[in-house]
Symmetry: C2
Subunit: 129 residues, 2 copies
Amino acid sequence: MVTNEVSTDIAIPDPDVLNPNCPTRLVLDRIGDRWTVLVVLLLREGPVRFTALRTALGGVAPKVLTQTLKAMARDGLITRTVYAEVPPKVTYELTELGHSLRAPIEAVATWAESNVSAIMAAREAASAG
Amino acid sequence: MVTNEVSTDIAIPDPDVLNPNCPTRLVLDRIGDRWTVLVVLLLREGPVRFTALRTALGGVAPKVLTQTLKAMARDGLITRTVYAEVPPKVTYELTELGHSLRAPIEAVATWAESNVSAIMAAREAASAG
DNA sequence: CAGAATCCCTCGCGATACTG
DNA sequence: CAGTATCGCGAGGGATTCTG
């Protein structure tokens, strides 16, 4: 209708990730939060305790970590195991679903590590220009 | 040192994504925001105009979209092209770096689509139980 | 040790109006 | 059309304190 030099009309990608009503957004929201992704990474080798997570994450507020963990458990990504011991001991572990999320997440993480330098360079170039 | 049933000490995954000081966090932050991921998805077939993006995203505030686009351009993920026409025309396009981000992002999107139902189920089970 | 409760506060995101 | 300029809110995140 206009020119053909660029696609003016948007070809919606097969997924409906773009549809705000689509629950797929839920996943993006979850991944979008500050800690979920890192928790998945930390749990990949097996069960980890609350405080261990807290420490590894570099000082998250307990409230926030609890929130994150609860949300993840609610969504079936992790399980919570309480040991009848004193002092208390609770561990979190990836479910099968949680494990299946590792691949995509690690793909992103790997990309991040490989390309941070490029991004930083671009960023400095931008502020320089 | 305690028991061996679970890994109490955290084995930091090879990457240092967990280090708050690590710039890798930058990437997660960027991906964590509401629109970046969707923009990448929308740009995968070629250049797209501002309003087309806006429409496809379902009514983002122009200010927000501009913010997102600027941040992405600053980080070298997209380029902005202005056409000397009336009415004005500006297109955004993935850079090579931006394109390289597609794979990981699409992996997440695909996972999302495949597993939303499982997540929803888990969520309902949680609220039911 | 694991978390609940509380208070606080930034800032991401949105809505609206206006301009080159 | 492609933005900028303002205004504003609400949620997510954080620091601290307390308890089972």
